[in-house]
């Protein structure tokens, strides 16, 4: 017999290959939301609006464009993670039902989840890397240390994605996804120190911001880019984000099994 059970390590890679086959045919449709939109944002906020903002203590002594760029990298990663973790996953359960096809093969529900998360992580890393190059070309980023912002942004994106994928696996209808974007993701990207320092906001909002992956991601990405990141806080941020990923994976495994093995 030429077929066999694939190893738990290889199975997610095969799922990624499936996504890649789709992406090769359809990548053009993703360009606008993944790249064009953040670039337009960078130009409008950084160059346009930013020309009205004086450099000072609030911007860490940097021009506004330079201050904004690493944060926008994180915000872009999280925003890109939203669609991939909600609508795309929901479709694979309900509309295209590609997950149902996959679990009729030797692949298990947990491996389907691992493949999905691995694919989203790859999308976030490549998307953020391309954005970094564009930001460099626009003069928004010059520090070589900004390379570190790419994995930090992707990690922040996954800290949102993994729990979101688990949540999506419990949904019978897609009703809640737009609300998630409007009432969770938008405030999370606007009020977590990306566009202006958190200190400008009332104190009661600070603890809420600290709960979000975006705030931790921005602290990491900006700190790395401007060379102000210290080891201990950095470890703390990474640990918190990793814990969110781990929580999402654990819940996701349970919900994927419950949804796919009925």
């Amino acid at each position: 017999m030429s077929t066999h059970v694939v190893s738990p390590w290889r199975a997610p890679l095969i799922a990624v290959e499936h996504h890649w086959t789709w992406y090769r045919r359809n990548w053009r449709a993703t360009v606008i939301s993944n790249f064009l939109q953040p670039v337009l944002f960078l130009l409008a906020m950084g160059v346009g609006f930013g020309s009205q903002v004086r450099e000072g203590e609030a911007t860490g002594g940097h021009p506004y464009l330079v201050y904004l760029a690493p944060a926008l990298l994180v915000i872009t990663a999280v925003q890109n993670a939203v669609f991939e973790s909600t609508w795309a996953v929901f479709s694979a359960f309900k509309w295209q039902r590609t997950y149902l096809a996959a679990v009729a093969t030797p692949i298990t529900p947990a491996q389907v989840l691992h493949g999905q998360l691995l694919w989203i992580a790859l999308r976030l890393v490549t998307g953020t890397a391309v954005f970094l190059l564009i930001a460099v070309a626009l003069g928004a980023i010059s520090s070589p240390m900004a390379v570190l912002a790419v994995p930090f942004a992707a990690l922040a994106g996954m800290a949102f994605s993994a729990p979101a994928v688990a949540f999506t696996a419990t949904r019978e209808k897609p009703d809640s996804f737009n609300a998630i974007f409007r009432f969770l993701v938008m405030p999370m990207t606007l009020f977590t120190g990306g566009f202006f320092p958190l200190s400008q906001l009332p104190a009661w909002i600070h603890p809420l911001a600290w709960l979000t992956p975006v705030w931790h991601g921005i602290e990491l990405a900006r700190g790395a880019t401007f060379g102000t990141l210290r080891l201990l806080p950095a470890l703390g941020h990474v640990a918190y984000l990793s814990a969110l990923v781990a929580l999402g994976v654990l819940l996701g495994r349970r919900y994927f099994r419950r949804r796919l093995a009925v």
């Binding site: 030429s2 077929t3 066999h4 290959e17 086959t21 096809a101 093969t105 796919l260 093995a261």
Partner: protein, 316 residues
């Protein structure tokens, strides 16, 4: 038996063995303790109306749905502990297509083959072979979305063969297709059977069951009502001939003809008389002044078996 070789053969020649198999969804009992044995090389059928529990049974056998109770062995292994190993050796055609409609015909076959651990070159060759088999070669690089229902069904069947399965599970393979598309599919399934693939088919079409199945069970309300070959079932539960008398709905109670046959069934628009001689029964009915809108003498089918066993028609 002490000969180990003989034991192995006897284990592997029974591909599916279920005893008291049950499936509950919450407090609802979809499958209520069924016993099934399917041998290698057989074409086995589950015939039953909507909600009988056919798909629930198929999903347990294909190791995607855990059983609630009872015993189940597929290819000699327990789905609870060996699901991936069993799934590696079976092919599944679900009731509802789940093709990746945004990929091409060829890509669907290749991607699916990869999930079985096949190499890239192996899936390339296999995809070409299967597109030939399913008569889809001319659509190889077309996207799946706009294909006709019959083409999608053929692709789903082709996809289920990508791992050269020992056992193929087909859940209503031809429901919703036009007669021509059905006959093409039957022909492909017949070829598979000839080549030694064991088939398990669910259907609520009696002609499909008669055409394809060596042996079948009639399922109703989560239970097995009868088991045998199509011919056996007809002999056991019906008569050689059936006289159908059609009346305007509600105008016939069947009382005038009840004693003309071994058994009668009164349906809303017709009365069925089960007898060994349909023409004689018809003449006797006419002699009594019974005037149906139309009449028909035919051979018994599995439909009659089903009606006898459950008191209901299969397709309503």
């Amino acid at each position: 038996m002490s000969d180990p070789a003989a034991t192995v053969t006897s284990v592997t020649s029974t591909l599916v063995n279920a005893k008291g198999l049950t499936k509950h969804f919450g407090s609802f009992e979809a499958v209520r303790g069924i016993d099934v044995e399917v041998s290698r090389g057989e074409a086995f059928g589950f015939l039953g109306p909507n909600g009988a529990g056919k798909s629930s049974t198929m999903r347990m056998v294909s190791c995607v749905s855990p059983r609630t109770g009872g015993e189940l062995r597929v290819l000699g292994l327990d789905p609870d502990t060996d699901g991936p190993r069993i799934r590696a050796r079976i092919g599944v055609v679900p009731q509802q297509d789940n093709l990746d409609t945004e990929l091409t015909v060829r890509q669907n076959l290749q991607v699916y083959g990869r999930y079985f651990g096949l190499s890239r070159s192996a899936v390339r060759a296999k995809a070409t072979e299967l597109m030939e088999f399913a008569q889809l070669s001319d659509r190889a690089d077309a996207e799946v979305e706009p294909l006709s229902g019959g083409m999608k069904r053929r692709l789903t069947i082709a996809r289920s063969l990508v791992n050269d399965p020992d056992l193929l599970l087909l859940d209503e393979p031809t429901t919703g297709l036009d007669p021509q598309a059905r006959h093409l599919l039957w022909d492909r399934l017949f070829r598979l059977k000839q080549s030694g693939v064991t088939l398990i088919i669910t259907t609520h079409y009696m002609d499909e069951a008669e055409q394809l199945c060596d042996r079948l069970v009639v399922m109703d309300g989560g239970r097995i009502a009868a088991e045998g070959s199509p011919g056996e079932l007809i002999r056991r539960y019906s008569t050689k001939e059936v006289l159908e008398l059609r009346f305007p709905p509600g105008e016939q109670s069947g009382d005038e003809v009840r004693d003309l046959a071994e058994r009668i069934e009164v349906l809303p628009d017709r009365v069925l008389l089960y007898t060994s001689d349909g023409e004689a029964a018809l003449a006797a009915a006419h002699a009594r002044g019974v005037r149906p809108v139309s009449s028909l003498v035919r051979r018994s089918t599995l439909e009659d078996v089903f009606l006898r066993l459950t008191g209901r028609t299969l397709v309503d």
